[in-house]
């Protein structure tokens, strides 16, 4: 049986701009986890009952550890409480959940926007693990302002930077980044806000290459039971028998062709 795992906090680091990085000791969950999957993270606040879905930023299979990088969305938000956790404290998680990135191309372009950046790190590492050279893994990152996780990305991939403010890399979004840096590849892998994903889909169409995108929606169960988190699909879905797929169970990673954004 799969169970909620009580994970111990190994370390917590503030990246600035309300973004935090949390390393958790979670051997059971880490065992089978891979890029693009997420965990349901529970608060210790009994007025906030629903789990927060957070993508895996890194998986350390060897030591049974997970890294989550997340944004605090408000002073009373559940994520605010996560940000106060310190070494040795515990937090309940359920996972790994959903289907991650499963089609690995030979010359991938990874696109991360905002808080969609962290899951690209584990993906880049998995590509590297498949034997791809740094030159063959392009990562285009779109920050709001200041960069984070750069060292980690640069170890395994060729990194191109963009930002809304212009303070990091070129001023613009990740699509601007692809164009201005003239980044080439055979498939797009993206995580970020919906407008970005729409642009990624259009870019893939224009280039005639596939795009794998990670979607977000408000969730209750995270395991495919409540039908809270659906996304519209182009065709009738085989499971739901309607034009809906569940992001938590059938995704969160979809082929951009499948879904209506």
């Amino acid at each position: 049986m799969k169970e909620v795992e009580t994970a111990e906090v190994i370390s917590q680091e503030a990246f600035g701009g309300d973004i935090y990085s949390l390393w958790l000791d979670a051997p059971v969950t880490a065992k089978t986890a891979h890029a693009g999957q997420f965990v349901s993270v529970f608060t210790n606040d009994s007025s906030k009952l629903l789990p927060r879905p957070i993508s895996l930023c890194e998986v350390d299979h060897e030591n049974g550890r997970l890294r989550l990088v997340y944004r605090v969305t408000g002073e009373t938000a559940g994520t605010k409480q996560f940000s106060l956790l310190t070494e040795g404290e515990t937090i309940d998680i359920l996972g790994p959940l959903g289907n991650g990135y499963s089609e690995f191309s030979k010359k991938p372009i990874l696109l991360g926007g905002g808080i969609g950046i962290p899951p690209m790190l584990e993906l880049a590492k998995e590509f590297a693990g498949q034997g791809l050279a740094k030159e063959d893994i392009s990562v285009v990152l779109g920050f709001r302002d200041a960069a984070f996780l750069l060292d980690e990305f640069e170890k395994v991939a060729t990194v191109y930077l963009t930002s809304d403010s212009g303070n990091t890399g070129i001023k613009g979004n990740v699509i601007d980044g692809i164009h201005q840096y003239d980044v080439k590849g055979d498939a797009l892998y993206a995580c970020g806000p919906k407008p970005m994903l729409r642009a990624v889909k259009a870019e893939a169409d224009a280039k005639g290459i596939p795009a794998w995108i990670s979607l977000e929606e408000r969730m209750a169960c995270g395991i495919g039971a409540c039908l809270g988190c659906v996304t519209e699909t182009k065709d009738v879905d085989d499971h739901s028998k309607v034009h809906n797929k569940r992001i938590c169970k059938d995704g969160p990673v979809f082929n951009a062709e499948e879904v209506v954004l």
Partner: protein, 300 residues
């Protein structure tokens, strides 16, 4: 000797614990989280005669001590349900309750008819989903309409029928009487309370549907009160629900008059909560030297 068995309209459950419709899928999704054989019964997500797409997203909002949902009864339709979901449940050692929904009386009857020859133990008729604009909602809050729909369903049903009551009414006892007069074999309550959440930063409803159904621990005192009122108004078994997350909560409903209890929203944040509730009820019985739940049902 502790005996946790209960009897709903002639159907014996090994223990009084089921799951609330819409919170457990068709069981399949929970198979890796909980031993379904340990449940008294599984209640399925509402199923209609044709596939329903449900409401636009966002469908879910967290609120203090609970949640709002406006899933809008998305379901794959009765044919897929019968060919895919039912066989899965039939392999489990538990009772099967199929929750039935529709926009019109005819649609309800289509589902009920289709299930006539299936191995299903009980039908739960959802006349109270607050997220469906046609049919459903009117049935749920008007005693005359409720009485009528119950009579018609009863004519068609081959299994005992449970009418599921809406809490969004002035007089729940009147609704219960209307359903029982119409031939309901059992009642289940409460469905969700209509609620709303506004995102004040974006100046928007959090739910695409504007309103959603409130569920979770926040509603428990209302649910216990309604179960108590209904248990004192009619004489059919009651499946009590609304905010149950512990065995203690379940016992509270049983003392208020419920024969069985149903765990809903809690499945979302404690996927194996039902097993804990089943075990906790047994522990309570041991601790208090109770042999049968009859000893505490409606005990005050």
């Amino acid at each position: 000797m502790i005996n946790t068995e209960i009897n709903i309209a002639g159907v014996i459950w090994k223990n009084p614990v089921t799951v609330s419709s819409g919170t457990f899928g068709s069981g399949m999704e929970f198979d890796e989280y909980v031993d379904i054989n340990k449940l008294g019964a599984v209640t399925t997500k509402g199923v209609a005669d044709k596939p329903w797409a449900g409401n636009p997203t966002p469908r879910i909002a967290e609120v203090y001590g609970g949640m709002l949902n406006a899933v809008g009864l998305q379901n794959p339709g009765i044919e897929t349900f019968c060919s895919r979901d039912l066989p899965f449940l039939q392999k489990k050692d538990t009772r099967i309750i199929v929750n039935v929904c529709g926009h019109t009386l005819e649609e309800y009857l289509n589902v009920v008819d289709r299930l006539a020859d299936e191995k299903v133990d009980l039908l739960e008729i959802n006349v109270s989903c607050p997220n469906v604009k046609e049919g459903g909602i009117a049935f749920g809050v008007d005693p005359h309409a409720l009485n009528e729909v119950t009579k018609e369903v009863k004519k068609h049903a081959k299994q005992p029928i449970i009418m599921k009551l809406s809490p969004n009414v002035t007089d729940i006892a009147e609704m219960a009487r209307a359903a029982v007069d119409g031939g309901a074999d059992a009642l289940s309550l409460i469905n969700t309370l209509t609620g709303m959440k506004i995102d004040i930063e974006r100046r928007k409803f959090v739910l695409a549907n504007k309103t959603g159904g409130l569920s979770g621990p926040a509603v428990k005192p209302i649910a216990v009160r309604m179960v108590y009122q209904v248990a004192h108004a009619v004489d059919v078994p009651i499946i009590g629900m609304g905010g149950i997350q512990t065995a203690e909560d379940a016992i509270e409903f049983i003392m208020a008059g419920a024969t069985a209890v149903s765990v809903g929203t809690a499945n979302f944040y404690r996927p194996n909560v039902t097993e804990e509730v089943v075990e906790g009820i047994r522990n309570y019985m041991e601790r208090h030297h109770i042999e049968s739940l009859d000893e505490i049902r409606k005990c005050l």
